[in-house]
Amino acid sequence: MTVTWERFAGNTDSFALRISFMADPDGGHAVTAAESASWGALQLWVDGKNLCAHTDQGESMQSAHWYLLPLIEWFLDSWNPLLHEERLPNRNSADSAVIALRSSRNAPELAGEAETVAWEQEWYDWRGRHALRVAREGGLFPNVVFRRLRDYVEVSWDDEPLAGSPSGFQFASTTGWVLLEPAQVAGPVHEVLAAALERLHNVVPGSERVADAARKLKDLTVPDQHDQRVRWLAGLPSRPAAPGRLLDRISAVDSGALWNRITAALTAHGQDEATRSALATDDRPLVVAGSCQAALLFSAVSPAVSDSDVERLAGVLISQYRSSDPESAELLALTRPEQPNPVSPAWDQGYDLAESLHDELDLDEPEWIDVEKVMSSLGIARLDRSLDDRTIRACSLVSPSHAPTVVVNSNAPQMVSSRAVRFTLAHELCHILYDRAWGRRLAIASGPWAPRGIEQRANAFAAMFLMPPHLLASAIADSPDPISEPDGIRLVAARLRVSNRAALEHLYNLTLMDEVQRDHLIREMDTGSSRSW
């Protein structure tokens, strides 16, 4: 098939898109003229991989071939959620969107019919905004999902076959995900879409669909896109959830009203500079490259956030505003953004970060790590607030205009234990040191709606930071009972001032016991005493 036109934009090492047009091999049979004119080849390059490369009938193909006008229209219709919406549908079920969609496509087994339809509707709508295959219209496209993840765009993919895939049809890239700067994605896609629409307009000048798409393309750069994009960043639904929704109930308000509540809660304090700072973004013509603190914070809380939690969290954003130099030199020296690594397990990354921090701090603690003292010495403030949402353990906040702060949710059930509080503080320390993005900003609520990858990494960091090998070894050596016995675990945990469960899991992760021993100890400690954990 001869290529009659093509456009490539981007960098194949990070993100690139190529669209080529060719003569429709069936001469426009059973499609519209505009669709036929858009017959061609698609290549999507991510992290050096061509996600459209596949094998078909024993032949290696470098492109997916299909009518590409629906794909162009889908990109334009989905633009803002595609590049700004982070929160997954129904539940935060996996590290990457493609895996989350796979694992949550069925409602829980015992859900009723109304709940099942509501679950599936939310899933279907979310997929419609994020999954490239929504634009396939009968073609065989790779399974690629785009979403926002903090200040990055996550692109994830797998090779799940489609209905009607012939035997032997197989995409070359199996599964993976990468994080990219938003502009790295938005720029090439926009460039290729603009050129393709210009070409289609020349070939089928009377097409209403092409003209409509061209209008949408033009609208992407108008200034009033900003508000919509920030709402997507804040995780505000575009419409109320369907009746019967399981788990997190979203009150039946539109996203505009919810965002207005957030901004009203900020402005109610009468501190204009602090409010502006909480809402400041890094806007590019096509995308919000750097999210504002308010959107970052509220995107990680439950979709059912209460009015009083909105007010309390907004209050923290205002009270922790600083006009200059909010961070100590010591904290700045230790801070470095560490993008989650899709290849390395989150636990390994967290352990590695904790060990390197111990190397840098060179703490002289004989028995246990005083994490509060460490945070205080770095100038990190601790606040205690009672949030209605008991699944949030704590929030972290820092930026060039916000004092580094950890807000402990005193209403979370774990916070009755001082050991759990210590673990939570260490977890938040990880966020403050390594999870900042654009402009050294961070605002995150640690709970079930926070990005799973960085939450798991922060948990591992906390375990290793509070239980470094040298202190663990001396605690084990000083214990009269071996760690194969419940009392041994209790003594080690007490010495290090962590929960029994945290100590046990850490010992298991360090391969100091196997799975059978760990499970046996869990059972013993569950039945042995109500104070065990």
Binding site: M1, P25, D26, H29, A30, V31, T32, E35, A41, D56, Q57, E59, M61, S63, H65, W66, R102, R105, N106, E113, T116, V117, E120, Q121, W123, Y124, R127, R136, E137, G138, G139, L140, D158, E160, P161, L162, A163, G164, S165, P166
Partner: protein, 129 residues
Amino acid sequence: MNCAILASGTDRGEAAMDERETTTGLRPLMYEPNPKHKPLPAPGRHGSICPPDADGPALLRGSDENGRKRYATDGSRAYCAQCHDADGNVWHGYPVDWEEVPPSLVGDWIAAGRVDRRTVRRAKRRRGR
């Protein structure tokens, strides 16, 4: 929805017609296959391939409109149809996965006994195997 007709090489003029009027127009639904869903064009020239036992015209007759598309089921699989000639109300179709069908429509089909929930669940669970 293509294959029964495609298998016999029937073109648009011989395609089955539906007497029922639709909400999209006054003309009856007409079915015309797209050769790109026929088994099996050369690599790079096809999309989802219709199973050999799919009866395109019958599926179109029993389909439900949703947005710009129509959807149908044979009780175990799902299909989608797209209009490629609005004046003639002419459609072609192809197989889709259950997750591509609007959930409200699946709910209606289950309520009407056209498919059961367990079949849909299992089909979704088996994706990718």
